[in-house]
Symmetry: C2
Subunit: 288 residues, 2 copies
């Protein structure tokens, strides 16, 4: 089976599980949650978690609740990020954003619900024996990387920093948190569940940081090139700030670093290799 086919199967498993998780009842709040989550998206973070888990010997069954938890957290952040007091985005994935479709109050509660549900899903994961300790560890890591010192910290920088404060170093820090943190903890999750050793954890985190940076820079390149889609123009954008050539250059470098990290640590995973390399493709429209 080709690597694309294997990733397609993993994505299907994620979609099915998200569908199951979000089908508990037919209330308005669940409809809003389903609207926000089940409307496309490449499921990049769950695929990273599953591929990393596989690389370290964790079963798909074991990783799946955490892969879905990560995707729920990612989607809550998009719903809240789109709100008028934040980015004020009217559309998301080609449809009206959650608050446009359901109202601001319900969108706020939808984001809160997705974040809370993520932890419910993860804490329900049934791991027996030794891996039980890994469950607490993974939840701790995910809450840390999703929190003040990770993703939310990055959003906070996004909201508070003025353009003149955005040197390339500061901007790296910003996107490493805003986008990189959840991507990094996605691969770290699979590694912890698979029982990776310290040096392997260090390597996979290094890989995650590099593709996290690359992911956001690619996103910015596509955004800046996309004449039709103006939605992110008001946000600091790598390509606009530092120029398209530098952006492309950095993108290539970060992917190179990600791939050599895998190689140096002897982590053999066609999937992790593929998931990094596809960020070099600037033809496809970005997916969240």
């Amino acid at each position: 089976m080709s690597v694309e086919e294997r990733l397609r199967q993993k994505k299907e498993a994620v979609e099915l599980e998200l569908e199951r998780i979000l089908s508990q009842e037919d209330s308005l709040l669940f409809r809003a949650m389903r609207y926000a989550v089940l409307s496309g998206g490449k499921r990049y973070r769950p695929l990273l978690a599953l591929s990393s888990g596989e690389c370290f010997g964790a079963s798909q069954e074991m990783v799946l609740p955490f892969a879905c938890g990560l995707e729920l957290i990612h989607n809550y952040s998009l719903v809240h990020d789109d709100l008028p007091s934040m980015d004020n985005d009217d559309s998301r994935r080609g449809q009206p954003s959650c608050h446009k479709a359901f109202g601001e109050d319900i969108a706020l509660l939808t984001g809160d619900s997705l974040l809370t549900l993520a932890f419910e899903v993860m804490s329900q994961a049934s791991l027996d024996g030794d891996p039980l300790e890994r469950k607490g560890w993974v939840i701790k890591e995910i809450s840390h990387f999703a929190g003040v010192k990770g993703m939310i910290g990055g959003q906070m920088m996004d909201v508070t920093l003025s353009p003149e404060e955005l040197t390339e170093e500061v901007f790296h820090d910003l996107i490493l948190k805003k986008t990189g943190a959840l991507i990094t903890v996605s691969v770290k999750t699979g590694a912890i569940l698979g029982g990776a050793g310290n040096s392997e954890l260090e390597a996979i985190v290094q890989y995650g940081r590099n593709i996290g940076l690359a992911f956001q820079i690619r996103d910015d390149i596509l955004d800046s090139a996309d004449e039709e889609e103006k939605r992110d123009v008001s946000r600091p954008n790598y390509a606009s700030l530092f120029g398209l050539e530098i952006a492309k250059n950095r993108l290539n470098n970060f992917i190179d670093s990600a791939l050599s990290t895998l190689e140096e640590a002897s982590l053999v995973s066609e999937e992790l290799h593929y998931l990094a390399s596809l960020l070099l493709n600037l033809e496809h429209r970005k997916g969240q």
Copy 2:
């Protein structure tokens, strides 16, 4: 030592731990989190968790991270609830509400941060051996009761139901979720950590539901009587909807039920008895 003195000591332990948790750095986001959390509040939920834990033999050290997690969750819900798209409350605990002091975007992120931090704090709790399973169980319960079928579900009812839909039965369901869920899971948390059996868990949940209902009804009675404080007038209020006499009557009944539940299950705890009974006091201004 009197029961008041013992509760005062527990509250002090909670304040110290919250202070420690929120002193990780001096960033704007942490300042906003400290502003929201360390500005008064009776710490009713942490006191319930600690007292219930004590009743079932869990040490204060074991329960404290979860007690603080519950308080962080409670405070995130207040910050988001005060936002303009929700209750649009300008003040909270006698000071400008979080979004009035820091802006809407930062208040949104502050709430998100407090919720995420709650799970980080709880997942960091170090329990050894058997209680390790209890940690996952407690996190699962707390995320469940704080989520769509609990607290957020109640907020959703608050936002979407029209006054004519609010029969007393529906309103009980609403406040059982909005206020009762977090109070119930607070006592359940202590019981689980202490290794309570099934019938004891049932009893403590029954106690929690009763004081949860009583807590909100008392709040509504005080709100409706308070001429100066108009902030909740637009929200459905038990006393305004069903009359002050009925409200007082229900308050007494729910406290009676809570106390007889303790007695019937032979749960001897001066603290739990006291924390229920003090809700009968309609002289003191409410505390959150």
